[in-house]
Subunit: 352 residues, 2 copies
DNA sequence: CTGTTAGCGCTTTCAA
DNA sequence: TTGAAAGCGCTAACAG
């Protein structure tokens, strides 16, 4: 039975008294150091149980110099890409006895600075930067304090720390091939903000993939959005009012795709019969749309695990080699894509 | 200029030497204790800046006995209700110089126990329990250690700590009145798991509201779901195959509503023309649906703020009165609800 | 107003 | 194998 009356925090000293041993022995027993008399250890554990003792990590880590806390900086929790990442990161961190210090930057330099300060003051042992745009001077600050770093390779010029590279090409190629196989020729692309490296790469991957399947990329089929719902909404009309309109649209991220879907709905365009839509990111809510969205998935759980592992390797094994990690992407076909509508049908539709 | 070369952690002692004062004075200056010679304080701050000193919170809080860490336990990050709550809670906590220790329980007793242990070991000063079902014995454990608690008043028998009550009635009343005003009479309700107090209250509020507007609640219009997408999918068919089918359905939560919407889509039932749908919770993604979902909003930001404030009052002002906090709910009309289809039209539809 | 000193709770030499 | 004692970085008496 655990005693619940331990209203005041018990300490190693107290345990030591009750168990008639020294604090050193208590410490050894607690940490399962070999060569401790089993009898004594037993007494210690019994007392620990009776008194409801929990070690004080503040004290423990003051002396050991290791906080066992990892910083996790994300852009914003409310961006649906991140909750799964945070959850998974927490899961695995806790399994390995680390705590996480979560910070959302909300794209605000002030918040950024605050986040870095918090991380340093709490003496985190490493920081995972899972954001889409980072502040170089601040990561430099972390790096200069010998704090291990991992980040998505999305920042334009970040140099310090390990990088995780997203393999945009593969998933996007699959998506383009999928659309081509469905007979689509007029495939549009709604790009993201051009200052983000990840946007550029997605667009480049699209163009490359189109070439590979021998499809033409006419510039009127490329429009630039901003990775938001509104961006998607605005993107569609110009694409549909072309003399030869798009029959499918690929989007640089899921929110854009959702915007496109909304605009299609509001314009009476039926998805997927008259228009196929493909998203990118694989956020959870794409499953919930009507119809569920075909998208290119970045495996968030894998990403989180990889980030953690990379950090842990640096911290515990002082791995210093600069190999980049790469995370694959994959097409998930759902119900927002379908065979292209044959021209005769289209004409019928128009005249009706 | 901040020096970046401070590769080894500087300490108050070091600052003291450089500034030619004692560590006590360093501490005083840093904490802006009054009655410190401005000259000395100036020297201290300058040195702090030069050496890139950041206080070690572990040490600071070891002596002060205050960790300035708050536990935040949620059911699961991937439940779309929580990210906003977490984000807001973090925001306000950080503003007040608290750190948060996040834990998702994932409805797993093991995780629950682990969460509580983590909280105790890190010596959190308070815990916000923002979950839909809690483990009584564990909150008791926290309580017995004099850790401040706030929780949603959803657990069946939780006694310890402050409670936050959700005013289900108001929002649901608004929703029912909204539907009634649109001419709906056959209003169905998809309930949540019956063991959750929050489910029971939502259902009771629905029934009360129906009576208020003088509408009949026939038992074939009440079905029980499980707060999941699948539950919503399964709930709809029986409601539509009635001799006098539902024209509107209220759901105990948003995921259920989304499931209903999906099933309507798959059955060729047009929303909102042939069927109105109302959700509950006001999770973000309801805005993104096609059509955007009418729902009863629990103000997540307010909820998080309230939880934080309640905790802070207990911690810093030792407020001990047991007044319950109540959080209002409100109908948000979007586009999944519309005037009931007149009977003649329905007949036309059927015969066509 | 400032410095000296004694801890906070724990781990870790170093002797015994 | 165990205990005594020092010390992690900081704050808070207590003298001066």
């Amino acid at each position: 039975m655990h005693s619940v009356k331990g209203h005041h925090e018990s300490t190693t000293l107290e345990i030591a008294h009750h168990a008639r041993v020294s604090t050193a022995t208590v410490s050894r027993a607690l940490n399962r150091v070999p060569n401790v008399d089993p009898q004594l250890a037993e007494r210690v554990w019994k007392t620990v149980d009776e008194l409801g003792y929990y070690p004080n990590t503040q004290a423990r880590f003051l002396v050991s110099g290791r906080s066992r806390v990892l910083g996790l900086i994300v852009s914003e929790m409310v961006n649906p890409f991140f909750p799964e990442v945070v959850q998974s990161f927490e899961d695995i961190a806790v399994q390995h006895d680390y705590e996480i210090l979560l910070s959302s930057t909300v794209h605000d330099p002030k918040r950024w600075e605050l986040a870095v300060r918090r991380m340093i003051e709490r003496r985190v042992e490493g920081v995972a930067l899972l954001t889409f745009a980072e502040e170089d001077s601040l990561t430099e600050k972390l790096h200069s304090r010998k704090i291990s770093l991992v980040s998505l390779d999305d920042a334009p010029s970040a140099r310090s720390g390990r990088k995780i590279q997203v393999d945009y090409q593969n998933g996007i190629r699959e998506a383009v091939q999928h659309l081509a196989a469905l007979g689509h020729v007029r495939i549009a692309f709604v790009a993201g903000p051009s200052h983000l490296k990840s946007s550029q790469e997605r667009k480049a991957a699209f163009e490359r993939s189109m070439k590979e399947v021998g499809l033409e990329i006419s510039s009127d089929l490329i429009v630039v959005g901003d990775h938001s719902l509104e961006g998607g909404i605005r993107a569609l009309p110009p694409l549909m009012s072309l003399v030869d309109p798009a029959t499918a649209v690929m989007c640089s991220n899921d929110m854009t795709a959702i915007g496109v879907m909304r605009q299609a709905y509001d314009s009476g365009i039926e998805v997927p019969r008259e228009l196929s839509i493909v998203g990118f990111d694989g956020i959870r809510l794409t499953q919930f749309m009507t119809p569920p969205l075909t998208t290119v998935q970045i495996p968030q759980v894998e990403l989180a695990k990889l980030a953690f592992t990379a950090l842990r390797e640096q911290i515990e094994f002082e791995h210093k080699d600069d190999s980049e990690y790469v995370i694959p992407t994959q097409l998930v076909v759902r119900r927002s894509t379908a065979t292209v509508l044959k021209s005769e049908h289209k004409r019928q539709l128009k005249s009706s």
